[in-house]
């Protein structure tokens, strides 16, 4: 066990040392996969579907704040749709605006916003159901909302592609006919199948996340790991209970695979949680009457002291004597 803890300590040390690079690399990977999938799938505007542009867009999004990254993603989707049909692009814009106004403006954490991009990528690789338990460990119950919104948008875009295929050039600006536009818009907005699929995904996510959140709050030993197991079971039960009612054909194998894989990753994430939770390295500058302080603060980490701790803000609760390890330089 000690060897495992030492390996964990080493990994935590490396991640802390290069924390910003790890964060940028993670975002780069997620955005790159998203643009590759989205530009490859939509591919109406051929110029956007190139390796170089995908990489460039991903690079910009990985450096920019996540909120701005999501705006760029939305713009790329709209450009693709507008190239084929302005009406469909307008419809997509309206749907995005509705989802933002009702749901997304509540979001506070960067991770929750990043879920909007991560979920479509995982759904594309049939790993969408890995998310719920992991989100339960890393985020608040609100995380179910971006999961639902993402699944809804993916369904909507697929439905839009179907409409563009069906109506073809009659939706382009040059040959636009009012009746055809109305018919296409009606067909798009009354197609409830994608909304049902999104609702299925949203409910499964909400159930798993809430179960993980509630069980993890109980004060017994290993409550987080029990919460992860309970969340995985709740996810399977919820998926089996509602797929028939919503008319969604969810494969049982996929649901179980997602729950187990999600639980395993969540358990590993929980094991390393201090990395993402509260061990951020800080470089700060402040002053008092006598000095300017330039401080690099690195939270203390002790293997023996961590064994029974399941994570929480109390770990940063500074005592009178022993607080943060701080390397400091001063200047008069």
């Amino acid at each position: 066990m000690n060897t495992v803890l030492l390996i964990r300590e080493k990994i935590i040390y490396i991640v802390r040392e290069y924390e910003n690079w790890f964060r940028i690399a993670g975002k780069l990977l997620v955005f790159y996969l998203f643009f590759k999938y989205m530009n490859g799938g939509l591919s109406y505007y051929k110029m956007l579907d190139t390796q170089a542009l995908n990489t460039l867009l991903a690079l910009v999004c990985s450096i920019a704040p996540t909120g701005l990254g999501v705006v760029i993603v939305a713009a790329v989707i709209l450009v693709h749709l507008a190239h084929e049909s302005v009406v469909i692009a307008l419809a997509a814009l309206v749907v995005m605006a509705i989802l933002y106004l009702i749901f997304i403006h509540f979001a506070s954490g960067e991770g929750e916003v990043l879920l909007l991009v991560l979920v479509p990528v995982l759904i594309h690789y049939n790993l969408g159901l890995v998310i719920p338990v992991i989100a339960g460990v890393l985020f608040t119950p609100y995380a179910a909302v971006p999961c639902f919104v993402s699944a809804f948008m993916i369904g909507f875009i697929r439905a839009s592609m179907g409409i563009i295929e069906t109506y073809g050039s009659s939706l382009s600006v040059k040959s636009m006919d009012f009746n055809t536009v109305l018919e296409a818009a009606s067909a798009l907005f009354t197609d409830a199948s994608f909304a049902r699929a999104a609702l299925f995904y949203g409910i499964v996510c909400a159930v798993a996340i809430v179960v993980v959140y509630i069980v993890s709050r109980f004060e017994f030993k290993y409550s987080w790991y029990i919460a992860i197991a309970a969340g995985a079971v709740a996810q399977i039960v919820a998926a089996s209970a509602i797929d028939g009612r919503l008319g969604v054909d969810a494969s049982q194998y996929g649901v179980v695979k997602g729950a187990i894989l999600g639980a395993l990753i969540a358990a590993v994430a929980q094991f390393f949680k201090c990395i993402v939770d509260y061990s951020r390295k800080e470089s700060l500058q402040f002053e008092d009457d006598e000095y300017y302080y330039y401080v690099k603060a690195i939270p203390k980490y002790l293997v023996s002291g961590r064994e029974g701790i399941t994570g929480g803000a109390e770990d940063l609760d500074l005592g009178e004597d022993e607080i943060l390890d701080a390397e400091f330089e001063t200047e008069d």
Binding site: I98, F106, S108, A185, F189, F286, Y291, Y293, A297, I323
Partner: protein, 131 residues
């Protein structure tokens, strides 16, 4: 002579100010009631805009009903369900907003309370240094 305890406390306070503190200190300028009311009102405005868009889409998908309402100059069958649903949904949405912002306010107040405690400790360190 540098006081390491004080530096650690100041580091903690500065770290908080640079991250969560920005939002927390802004929201804690409000009284509890004003904060919840203001944000709920903002939520209701957002919801109303979204609902107008949804209603527009609904009417677009039911143009025949709209045209017949125009022809008969009887808009009640078209707008009555829209307004009824709006009232029901806006009440539910406002309740969700209230619950959400109450939770946000209290969790940020706890963090601000910790922050002020740290400031008090810094002040105590300063007094001890002066003596």
């Amino acid at each position: 002579m540098l006081n390491q305890d004080k530096i650690a406390l100041m580091t903690r306070a500065a770290a908080y100010e640079q991250h969560e503190g920005r939002k927390d200190l802004r929201s804690n300028r409000f009284f509890f009631g004003s904060y919840v009311r203001w944000n709920t009102l903002k939520g209701i405005v957002f919801f109303t805009i979204a609902y107008v868009l949804i209603a527009g889409v609904y009417l677009l998908c039911n143009t025949e009903t709209l045209f017949s309402a125009f022809a008969e100059m009887d808009f009640r069958p078209v707008f009555e369900p829209i307004i009824t649903y709006y009232i029901i949904l806006v009440i539910i949405y406002a309740a969700i907003c209230v619950a959400c912002y109450i939770w946000k306010f209290f969790s940020s107040r706890d963090r601000v309370r910790d922050y002020y405690r740290t400031l008090k400790r810094i002040e105590k360190c300063n007094r001890e240094e002066q003596q």
